[in-house]
């Protein structure tokens, strides 16, 4: 199964490799999350090295650490491509840490969903993966399906709900969509905080692995969760469902950018283009690392069911503007600490 895909991949990118072979062997430094790094080496780094004739070195860490490093080395950057959650990328972009992307150099740009083409709305990034945030719930304990964010407030769920902490990436979209569900305007999240303060919550989780164990140990019956955790949740063998919410699931993206002052701007574009190509996006999805943003990726149903895939799922997603999050996040964290986590 695997060999033909890689062979096909090599042939698709043969012209690129010939061009690169003439260049000197350079090193491309990519700053990434370090999650499923073995799969990333296998699906992205190694195949890219084969076609570009260059070395790919990953520098890994969480969003905050890597953003801090980028800022500190602004005058003399040592990273070429950086992969970040959209909100952190926007902070970097606002500090002038990114080159403008030349989409003409991205041959796969046309294959991307609209939301992936300019997620920061300033031309400095493309999304390379997407995930939805919705409510996961126990179908044996909650017989009437959950169809709205407001269903978390049902009396039978009291004390059986976990919420993502505001400092997780799933936190702000939860506040945003709850606010909208309760008729709040985006400019004022008081509706959300008023309601969230009244919600009987068991605990606030910081990592998706915590939600998995909370469900596994029958501690909770419902929680807003990022889709990337769905595979792990299914492994608990509990009767769980992914809610289809009438008031919207949130969509979140991770983005790729070229670092300002990189000495390998053209190569960095090639790397990003490679990440967006149909074979790489397919390989990453088959290994359950990242959901594709390339519309041409086709996946078996068993795999698709564990990811955020397909026009029908993606069309319903609501994407929060990164500038909006950036403006409100500090205030939301303060309000969350005072009004919600008491």
């Amino acid at each position: 199964m695997k060999t033909p895909r890689h062979v096909r991949l090599l042939f698709t990118l043969l012209p690129l490799s010939l061009a690169a072979a003439q260049a000197q062997k350079t090193t491309l430094v990519v700053s990434g999350f370090g999650i499923a790094q073995d799969k990333i080496e296998k699906n992205i780094a190694k195949p890219f090295e084969a076609v570009c004739g260059c070395n790919v070195v990953f520098e890994v860490g969480n969003n905050a650490d890597r953003l801090a490093k980028l800022t500190a080395r602004k005058a003399n950057p040592n990273v070429d491509v950086v992969l970040l959650a959209d909100y952190f990328a926007k902070q970097a972009s606002n500090q002038g840490l990114f080159e403008k992307l030349d989409t003409a150099q991205l041959s796969n740009y046309g294959k991307l969903y609209d939301f992936a083409r300019d997620p920061l709305k300033d031309g400095t990034a493309v999304a390379f993966t997407v995930y939805s945030v919705s409510i996961v719930y126990r179908t044996d304990k909650i017989t009437k399906p959950i169809t709205s964010w407001k269903d978390l407030w049902r009396p039978e769920l009291a004390g059986k709900v976990a919420l993502p902490n505001i400092t997780t990436t799933q936190g702000p979209p939860t506040v945003w969509l709850v606010n909208r569900a309760y008729g709040g305007k985006d400019s004022d999240a008081s509706a959300a905080f008023g309601q969230l303060g009244k919600l009987k919550v068991l605990t606030y989780y910081n990592q998706s692995s915590q939600v998995t164990s909370l469900f596994a140990q029958d501690e909770i019956w419902a929680a807003p969760v990022g889709r990337f955790a769905w595979g792990g949740l299914l492994n608990t063998k509990k009767p769980l469902a992914w809610a289809r919410l009438s008031d919207g699931q949130a969509g979140l993206v991770n983005v790729a950018s070229v670092v300002k002052g990189s000495k390998n701007v053209a190569l960095a574009h090639k790397f990003i283009d490679f990440m967006l190509s149909t074979p790489v996006q397919t390989a990453q999805a088959l290994d359950l690392v990242d959901s594709p943003v390339n519309k041409q990726v086709k996946l078996p149903a068993a795999v698709a069911n564990q990811l955020t895939v397909g026009v029908s799922q993606v069309a319903g997603l609501r994407f929060m503007d990164t500038s909006y999050v950036l403006t409100n996040r500090d205030n939301w964290i303060q309000r969350w600490n005072r009004e919600v986590v008491k």
Binding site: L67, T168, L202, T203, Y204, Y205, Q217, N337, R338, V341
Partner: protein
């Protein structure tokens, strides 16, 4: 004899360089950071940190947890250490080994065990329900109680080991001597045993207290976001919200707390 004076310096230089580079320099830098507001120096970071009621609650909770756990472990361990001291020598090794085993398990594993034990369907709640003491599961996890339990289990072995070695240094015949001179058993405890083992209590107390102030895994997993301590708040500021000003203030506060407590306890320990 210049060689005599130079050699000791040569011997300590590597250690001194190492400490300066990886300890002194970062601590000084941290201190400077906590006082820098933009390009100038000032108390701005401190006033905004202490001006927020939420932060003060976290600070107070951290102190409370550290104090309670230190006192509880002292009260629990003192008689235990005295008892272990009178265990026949051939069993003493076994008893000591039993104390050390938990120390050899990672705090993460120990804390995860508590997650299972203290949960709604865990052993504790099942036992309480079966015994009829409660009608529905008691909420222990994600409360301050869970943090007390986890921290106490984490640090009791440290206190116990310290006290055992203090008791071992207690001369065997001091108690009979005191009794033969007419001291009651209470008097021989307060006037003889306690002063002679005070050093052990001080060392154990310092270890447990500073351990509680700096522990991260246990409060993060057992307390959750609702039971924030300084260590978890520090992680939130530095690792998630990239608020280095607040993070450096928290670090300085934690450092000051541990130094103060170590200093105070040492002062008390030295006084006889």
């Amino acid at each position: 004899m210049p060689g005599r004076t130079v050699t000791p310096w040569l011997l300590v230089t590597p250690a001194l360089l190492f400490l300066t580079l990886v300890f002194l320099y970062p601590v000084v830098k941290l201190l400077l950071n906590s006082f820098s507001v933009g390009d100038t120096f000032g108390l701005g970071n401190y006033t905004s940190f202490f001006g927020d009621r939420f932060n003060l609650e976290v600070l107070w909770r951290t102190l409370r947890v550290a104090l309670v756990v230190t006192l509880v472990s002292a009260v629990v361990c003192y008689p235990a250490a005295y008892g272990i001291q009178s265990v026949p020598p051939r069993y003493r090794g076994l008893v000591t080994a039993l104390i050390i085993v938990p120390l050899m398990t990672s705090p993460v594993a120990r804390t995860y065990a508590w997650l299972v034990l203290l949960g709604q369907t865990g052993i504790v709640n099942t036992a309480l329900l079966r015994s009829g003491l409660v009608q529905e599961p008691v909420r222990i996890l994600y409360t301050e109680w869970a943090v007390y339990i986890g921290m106490a289990q984490l640090f009791i072995p440290l206190m116990l080991l310290t006290l055992i070695s203090a008791m071992e240094n207690l001369p065997r015949d001091v108690v009979p001597a005191a009794r033969s001179l007419g001291a009651t058993s209470l008097q021989s405890f307060t006037r003889v045993i306690l002063p002679l083992t005070r050093e052990g209590l001080v060392v154990g107390g310092t270890l447990v207290f500073t351990g509680c102030i700096t522990a991260y895994v246990t409060p993060a997993l057992l307390g959750g976001a609702r039971v924030q301590l300084l260590a978890t708040l520090l992680y939130q500021k530095a690792g998630v919200t990239v608020d280095y000003a607040a993070a450096s203030v928290i670090s300085v506060v934690m450092l000051a707390l541990t130094l103060t407590v170590a200093g105070v306890l040492r002062g008390r320990g030295g006084r006889t």
